[in-house]
């Protein structure tokens, strides 16, 4: 059997796991591993400029591909810098393996240089973690880490590796295990057939059904099944922020996103529904509004691979624990076999009702923003980006108003095209995530929609884009303020803009771009938007930053009335409510 050092084993195990690309940053405790990396060519390493970006990039890579994102950082500050990105992945259930260097085993606990208790610090935000105590365990630990990260409800797994474990002098036999068995971890492979039958019977008796699909449908590769089922039954579909693209965004049966900034038609349909099929969604507080007023007449079917997500905030009438794709497959089969169909008259009149809401409130049917002045509105910029990219780009968003505008106005027809930090809401996520998506698909159009606030939280990554020729297109909706903070200050604090304005301190972004060797374009008027966007997307091999000045007064609407509102209680503009 081949004899390898711990460092070599680690990199070899990653390669044997099928990893082709990792994101990281070297440092003392990780140097043996970095040397092992240097002496092989199966795994490519992307050197970021800050460890937070390594985790976001691996995260973006994972979301774009469905594969497990991999991060390599050193001990101490390297490890702590990775924490925000690990928490981001944890909240959105993204498969990720983070390898962190650690001080040598016999120095652990002595406050050694660059020592931090990584397993302890990361504990609440990982699916599991390992501290390697013997180099011989490395192949099994790596195999287990990938198995845990990518199965069941996916999530990040940390492997903390003390430096002595990777010592190049100590060599051990290496064999990568094909399978690992863990008596304490057996993710559900199938839903309960009885429950699925019950659910189908309920669906077939529905007169006002809604399918509410979340990120679990995207992560669980169940878009095809979801789309087929919805079409077969002619049920309306709404997606969560995390689920956009799970059902084709341009389809007639799609009602748009639901929740705090969802469409009126999606939220109102949910409110009046008699049967809700929740698939891979977790009834997040940004979806349900006041739980006590949530969908008063609905029977709820809830499919989730994680039992802890079921009946956590909203009680499910028919809970189904299992992978969304296999459960939907079974449902499809049962529906196809059954001669029963939902009462077509009831479904027709339900659609009639929904179409009325859609006609009255639909933001894509009738723009909900003013275009009388020459000042650009953020919403129309997103529409223009949608058109310029023919709706087929990877859109990686930062966090704030621009994120909500993108979710509302960019229609995603495919899963894995919309990449955003939904759960944790991490500003600074967009650019590194876009780098990860671009690494996953070098020829794709990858857009980072951001604001002048978010972009500055990881702007150092422009340098990484230079080094690896990543032609990310950065669309910055520049409203010269922290837009979402300002919106809440307008709505709840009588427009007292506490620390949400930059007061002319913003950098000249195009000049900054030039300093990094990229291209910067400025757009100030409606008349130049389309041509400048075309110019931007025509530069296939360049990283381009579009500094687009938009109306700083614009708010995101619709917006659910809170506190104490139900799903259907929404502001549709500054002055009008549903």
């Amino acid at each position: 059997m081949e004899q390898l050092s711990g460092g070599d084993m680690l990199i070899r195990a990653l390669a044997d796991e099928g990893v082709d690309c990792i994101f990281g940053y070297p440092g003392g405790a990780a140097l043996h591993i970095y040397d092992a990396l240097f002496r092989q060519d199966r795994v490519q390493h992307i050197l970021v400029r800050h460890e937070q970006a390594a985790t976001h990039a691996a995260d973006g890579y994972a979301r774009a591909t469905g594969k497990t994102g991999v991060v390599l950082v050193t001990s101490g500050p390297g490890a702590t810098n990775a924490i925000t990105g690990i928490a981001t992945a944890y909240m959105d259930s993204i498969p990720m393996v983070v390898v962190s260097g650690q001080v040598v085993s016999d120095k652990i606990g002595e406050d050694a240089f660059q020592e931090t208790d990584m397993v302890g610090i990361s504990r609440p935000i990982v699916k599991h973690s390992f501290l390697v105590k013997d180099a011989r365990d490395i192949p099994t630990i790596v195999r287990k880490a990938f198995f845990i990260a990518s199965t069941g409800r996916p999530g990040p797994v940390v492997i903390d590796v003390p430096k002595d474990i990777t010592n190049p002098i100590d060599k051990y036999p290496y064999e990568y295990p094909e399978k690992v068995k863990m008596r304490s971890y057996t993710p559900a492979l199938k839903g309960h057939s009885g429950q699925i039958k019950k659910a189908v019977a309920l669906m077939l008796s529905a007169s006002r059904p809604v399918i509410y699909a979340g990120g679990g449908v995207v992560q669980g590769e169940a878009s095809k099944q979801l789309t087929e089922l919805a079409r077969l039954l002619n049920f309306p579909v709404t997606n969560t922020l995390m689920g956009l693209g799970a059902y084709p965004g341009t389809d007639r049966q799609f009602l748009g996103m639901l929740g705090m900034h969802g469409t009126v038609e999606a939220n109102t349909a949910m409110h009046h529904a008699d049967v809700i099929l929740a698939a891979g969604a977790r009834f997040d507080d940004r979806v349900t509004n006041t739980p006590g007023k949530f969908c008063p007449s609905a029977k709820i079917i809830h499919i989730d691979v994680d039992p802890a997500s079921i009946s956590k905030t909203i009680t499910a009438d028919v809970p189904i624990v299992g992978p969304v794709n296999s459960v939907l497959d079974e449902m499809l089969e049962l529906v196809k076999q059954s001669k029963v169909r939902p009462d077509p008259k009831a479904i027709d009149s339900w659609w009639e009702q929904i179409d009325q809401w859609r006609e009255r409130y639909g933001i894509l049917q009738k723009p909900n923003y003013e275009t009388s002045s020459e000042m650009l509105k953020p919403q129309e910029v997103i529409r223009a980006v949608f058109e310029a990219t023919k709706g087929d780009a990877y859109v990686c968003s930062d966090v704030g108003q621009h994120q909500m505008f993108s979710a509302q106005y960019y229609q995603f027809d495919k899963p894995r095209r919309w990449i955003n930090s939904g759960g944790l809401g991490t500003m600074g996520f967009g650019l590194p995530a876009a780098m990860g998506a671009q690494m996953a698909d070098r020829d794709a159009t990858v857009v980072c929609v951001t604001g002048e606030g978010s972009i500055q939280m990881c702007i150092q990554e422009l340098s990484t884009c230079t080094q690896y020729h990543l032609p990310v297109k950065i669309i910055c909706l520049n409203n010269q303020a922290l837009g979402m903070v300002k919106q809440w200050q307008d709505m709840q604090y009588s427009s007292r803009y506490s620390e949400s304005l930059y007061e002319d301190s913003l950098p000249d972004f195009p000049k900054l771009m030039e300093a990094y060797g990229h291209v910067g374009l400025t757009v100030r008027n409606r008349s130049e938007l389309k041509s400048k966007l075309e110019e931007c997307f025509a530069m296939k091999d360049r990283c381009v930053f579009m500094d687009i000045y938009v109306d700083p007064k614009e708010h995101v609407y619709p917006m659910q009335v809170a506190p104490n509102g139900s799903m259907r209680d929404m502001w549709i503009s500054r002055t009008e409510r549903t």
Partner: protein
């Protein structure tokens, strides 16, 4: 309805496993009333017994989240069925003069044992469910008590039911 629950957990005897369980409680805002942990006859497994207070919904969430921990192999809410619950208490009590006989009588009534004696102090060992230990503390009276050490609750199901692999 909120009431005391005894959750019994079999978990991997791995470093850090306990901190994951304890961390879960603080992270999700649940309370731990008592906790005991020790290896079992299978050296790869530890048995952890914890008591907490909550209604059915909360306990369901707690058990689901515990089950999600990779190191947790199996668990049961003992308070759902017939079970035996025991706690050990070592209690140091002032015992001089007339008090001495009084304390001794009390120990006998509660079927405890005096395990150490000095001219002014008794060290008493007493086992039973938590209520019994509370009752003993009340009976002796706070003024006499010098020190109390309780082991936390251990529990086991009655009859054929077992928690094992």
């Amino acid at each position: 309805m909120s009431r005391k629950r005894i959750i019994s957990i079999l978990m991997e005897n791995e470093p850090g496993a306990l901190s994951r369980v304890v961390g879960l409680f603080s992270q999700r805002g649940y309370n731990i009333e008592s906790l005991t942990v020790a290896p079992t006859e299978d050296s790869t497994l530890s048995r952890l017994t914890l008591t907490t207070i909550g209604d059915d919904h909360k306990i369901e969430q707690i058990t689901k989240h515990l089950n999600r921990l990779i190191d947790v192999v199996k668990l049961v809410d003992l308070s759902e069925g017939a079970h035996i619950e025991r706690e050990l208490m070592l209690i140091k009590v002032r015992a001089s003069g007339a008090q001495r006989a009084e304390v001794k009588r009390c120990v006998d009534i509660f079927r405890g044992m005096i395990v150490d004696v000095t001219p002014s102090v008794y060290c008493i060992q007493i086992t039973g469910d938590s209520d019994k230990l509370d009752a003993f503390i009340n009976a002796v009276g706070e003024a006499a008590i010098i020190e109390v050490v309780r082991s936390g609750v251990s529990g086991i199901a009655r009859g054929e039911k077992v928690l094992s692999l």
